[in-house]
C-alpha cells in the first residue's frame, strides 16, 4: 500500500495530515503556516498563524487581529510530532521557505522566492530535501534577469533626466517587497522619496518590526506639487491612471516588474518606462534553486507550470504540476474589486487592490 505523502495538495491549500496544519491555505483552517505576507499566500480567517518574525507587523497590518506566532529562520516548531522550520526565500522581507520533516523525510515549500540578493530581504538559502514544492512564476527561458545594480542605474538615471526636464517621477511597484527594495536602492542625492499611503503603511509596519528603511514622506493632499516634482513618488500598481496620480501634473511613470521583459506586456501597461525588476527567480534561478535542493521530486504550484515541468522532466528531474490558487500569471493581471474581498483588510487605505504580489 502506498504510504500517505507528508504533504498533500487539497482544495484548501497544502496540507500535512500528520502534523494537522496547512501551508499558505486559501480557505479558513485551524492551523496555518505562512510563507510570506502577500495576499495570495496569507489569507484571512485562520485560527492560528505561524510565520517569520519579520512578517509580523505586515501580517497584523494586512489581516488585523490574528492569532500569530512568529519564529526565526532555522528555529524549530513541532506540531503533532512533525518538525517545522523556516528558511529564507529572498522574495520579500520576512519571506520564508517552510521545511517540514517527519521520520527523516523532508519536504520544503518554497512560497515565492528569488535567488539574487536584493540587499534587504534575507538572501535565499537552498535547503536539502526529498520533496520540493516550488513556484515557477517566470518558468520560461525568455525571462532572464540582469543584476539589480544595472536596473537601479537605469532607474536612477531616468529619475535624473526627469528632474532635469522638471517632470514628476512616479515609480510603480508592489507595496510589500518591491517598494522597499526600490527605496533602498534609489540615489537619494537626487531628491526625496514620496510614498503613496498604501506603501507608507507597509513601510511603517516594517519599521515597527525593526527594519531600517530610508526616509520617506507620505503624500497627503497638502504635499506641494512642486516639491513632489523635485523628488520621486513610489506608488502601487492600483494607483496607475487614478486621479491621485494625475494630480502630479506632468509626470513620467515607470513600472518595475519581471513582466516588463516582454515588449507586449510593457506596451499593454502603457508605462513610460518598464524596468525589468522581479522578486521572483528567473529561468536560470529556478533551475539552479531546484537543483540545489537535491530533491527526488519537485512539484510546481504556480506560473508556467506545464512548460516548466516538461522541461525539468526532460533534463532529468521528477517534476509534477499541481493546482493551487497562488499568484500565477493569471492573477498577476487581474486587479478588480472582487479581489479585495478575501483581503478583508480593515486597515487598508483605499485602492490597494493588488493580490498576487507579482513582480
Amino acid at each position: 500500500m502506498a504510504k500517505q505523502p507528508l504533504l498533500e495538495f487539497t482544495d484548501r491549500g497544502i496540507y500535512c495530515s500528520k502534523g494537522k496544519f496547512y501551508i499558505d491555505p486559501w480557505k479558513p483552517v485551524d492551523d496555518a503556516v505562512i510563507t510570506h505576507a502577500h495576499s495570495d499566500h496569507a489569507y484571512w480567517g485562520h485560527n492560528r498563524y505561524l510565520a517569520h518574525h519579520l512578517s509580523k507587523q505586515v501580517l497584523l497590518y494586512r489581516l488585523g487581529e490574528i492569532n500569530l506566532q512568529t519564529i526565526e529562520y532555522g528555529e524549530q516548531v513541532i506540531k503533532n510530532g512533525v518538525e517545522i522550520s523556516l528558511f529564507p526565500a529572498g522574495h520579500v522581507i520576512g519571506s520564508a521557505q517552510v521545511r517540514v520533516e517527519y521520520q527523516g523525510e523532508v519536504w520544503v515549500v518554497s512560497g515565492d522566492y528569488k535567488v539574487e540578493n536584493d540587499g534587504i530581504s534575507t538572501p535565499f538559502e537552498p535547503v536539502r530535501c526529498h520533496h520540493f514544492i516550488s513556484e515557477c512564476t517566470f518558468g520560461m527561458p525568455v525571462y532572464q534577469w540582469k543584476p539589480q545594480l544595472m536596473i537601479f542605474d537605469e532607474i536612477n538615471s531616468w529619475w535624473r533626466t526627469n528632474l532635469n526636464n522638471d517632470i514628476a517621477t512616479v515609480l510603480v511597484g508592489y507595496s510589500l517587497g518591491k517598494a522597499q527594495r526600490i527605496l533602498q536602492n534609489l540615489d537619494l542625492f537626487n531628491g526625496k522619496v514620496y510614498t503613496h499611503g498604501v506603501i507608507e503603511n507597509t513601510n511603517q509596519a516594517l519599521r515597527n518590526n525593526g527594519v531600517q528603511l530610508n526616509p520617506t514622506e507620505r503624500i497627503t493632499p497638502d504635499t506641494p506639487k512642486d516639491e513632489i516634482r523635485k523628488g520621486i513618488v513610489l506608488a502601487p500598481p492600483s494607483s496607475v491612471g487614478t486621479p491621485w496620480m494625475r494630480k502630479f501634473g506632468s509626470y513620467n511613470f515607470g513600472y518595475c516588474s519581471g513582466w516588463m521583459a516582454i515588449r507586449g506586456a510593457k506596451r499593454r501597461r502603457a508605462a513610460d518606462r518598464g524596468f525589468i525588476l522581479s522578486d521572483h527567480a528567473d529561468w536560470d534561478g529556478l533551475i539552479s534553486a531546484i537543483d540545489a535542493t537535491g530533491c527526488e521530486k519537485v512539484y510546481l504550484t504556480h506560473g508556467y507550470t506545464a512548460t516548466f515541468s516538461r522541461y525539468l522532466t526532460e533534463i532529468g528531474f521528477d517534476a509534477h504540476e499541481v493546482h493551487t490558487l497562488y499568484g500565477s500569471e493569471e492573477e498577476a493581471e487581474v486587479k478588480d474589486d472582487t479581489l479585495n474581498e478575501d483581503k478583508n483588510n480593515t486597515h487598508a487605505v483605499g485602492g490597494d487592490l493588488e493580490r498576487a504580489d507579482t513582480p
Binding site: 520560461m140 527561458p141 525568455v142 532572464q144 521583459a261 516582454i262 515588449r263 507586449g264 506586456a265 510593457k266 506596451r267 499593454r268 502603457a270 513610460d272 518606462r273 518598464g274 508556467y304 512548460t307 516538461r310 522541461y311 526532460e314 500569471e329 493569471e330 492573477e331 493581471e333 487581474v334 478588480d336
Partner: protein, 538 residues
Amino acid sequence: MKAFAQLFLSLDETNKTNEKVRILKDYFINVPDTDKMHMLALFTGRKPKRQINTTLMRNWAIEASNIPAWLFEESYHVVGDLAETMSLLMPQNTISSNKTLTEWIAEINTLGDKNEEERKLWLMDSWAMLDGQERFVFNKILTGSFRVGVSQSLVIKALADVAGLEPATLTHRIMGSWMPETYHYKQLVEEQSAGDNISRPYPFFLAYPIQETSEKQRSVEELQSTLGDSSDWQAEWKWDGIRSQMIKRDGKIFIWSRGEDLATEKFPELHPFLNALPDGTVLDGEILSFRNGLPLPFNVLQTRIGRKNLSKKILEESPVAVIAYDCLEYAGEDIRTKTQSERRVILERLHAATPYPEVFNISVMIDFNTWAELAAKREQSRAMIAEGIMLKRKNAAYQVGRRRGDWWKWKIDPLSVDAVMIYAQKGHGRRADLYTDYTFAVWDGDKLVPFAKAYSGLTDVEINKVDNFIKRNTIEKFGPVRTVKPELVFEIGFEGINRSTRHKSGVALRFPRILRWRHDKPKEEADTLDSLKALLGE
C-alpha cells in the same frame, strides 16, 4: 545599427506624441542621409526583400539558444513576436559592431547570392555581435515583420521639420514605389515636381466615421448641428471594394491600392479603360466585382485577391470594374485643391468620354433634400450592396490622410448574432501572453458550430477577465489553441455574410468583431445556425 536600435527603444519608452517627434527628429539629425532613407523605408512599410526564410531562421535561432524546439515554440506563444523571442533566447553578445543601418541592409541584400551554409554562418556571426535590442530590430528587418508603434504621419512630421518642408509635400514625395538604395535624401528634400516619378500616387484622403452605436443613432438634429445645411454636401453610396488610385501618365498606367501596393497587373480588365484616358489623369475610386452592371459582394472579389496567377476561370467568375469618385490630376495638373464639385465635373467629363462605360463607372450621387431624407435612403444600403453612405462637403479640397471635417463615412449598423466562445488562442504584440483571439459558435440543435473568429472589440479590463476565465476553464489544449468551457456569450457584429463551402458552418462573415459581452445571456440563449443563415437574405 546602434542608433536605429536606440531609436526603436526610445520610441517604445514613451507614449507622448511630442516626445516621439522629438526622438525622431533627434535620430534624423544624427544619422547619415542614407540611414535616414532606410529608416524612412522601414517605417513606411517598405521592407527589404526577405533573404532568409523564417523556418530556417527559426531553426538556427533554436540552435543558437541551445533549447529544445518545443520550448522555443512555447516561448514564442508567451512573447507573441518571433523576432523578439529569438532575441530573448539567445545568449548575450560578447563582441559588438558599429555598422550602420545602411551597411547592415547592404549586407542583407547580398545574401541572395549566398548558399544556405554561408547564410547561416553570416547570421550566427551577426547575432553574436549585436546586443539584445539591436538583435531584436535586426530580426525584425530580416523576418520582414517590421512594424512600429509610430504612425507614418509622426515620422513625416519630424522629417518635414528637419528638412524644412510641408508635411503634405513630403507625404506625397514618399508615396509609391522607391528604393532607399536609389532614392536619395537630397532628391527627397529638394524642390521638385511630383512628375519626376510618373508612377507616384497622391496620398489618399480618408473619411472620418460618424460614430454611432446600435443603441444610439445620430439624429437628424445632430447631423444638422454638426454638418450644417444638407445642401452643402454630396452623398454617395459607400462601396466595399478595394480603394485604389488609377494613374495614366506618359502613356503608362498604374493602379495603386490604399496600402501603396502596386496592383496594376492584378486587374487586367481595367487596362483598356485606363489606356484610353488622356495622359496626366489620376482617378480615385473603388475596384469591385461586377456582373451585369451591378456590384457583387466583397467575398466574390476576395477569391481573386492574393492570387498570383489570374486564371481564365477566375476572370470569368469574378470580373472587376471601377466605381470612380474623384479626380486628383487632370491634364497633368494636380487639381486636389479644386473643390469637390469642380473635381466632380471633371470626373463626369472623363466618364462621358470613355469608350468603356461598363468598366469605368462613376459613383452615383444620391438625390436628397434633407438630412431626414438621406437617413431614410441610408436604410437601403444593404440592398445596394453598399456599406452605408459617404458624405463629402461640396466646397472641400482633396486632403491628405484621415481628417475630420469634410469627408464622412456613415455606415449602417452591422449585422449581429449572439454567440458562445468555444476556442481561444493567445494574441500577439501588446496582447502577447493573453488569450485574446477567440472562436465563436452558434447552436445547431444541441451542438455548437464555430462560425467566426474575432480579436477586437473588448476593453482591456474585459480582456483580462476573459483571459482569466479561459485559463481556469480550459477543457483541452491543442498546440496553442485552448478549448474553453462554453459559457461566455458575446454579441458578434459583421458587415456581411455569404455562403461558404470552406467553413463548417456553411457561412463566411465579413469583418466579424465583438460588439459587446452579453453578461445577461446564458449560453442556451445564444443564436442558432438557422438564425445566422436567415441573414443570408436569399
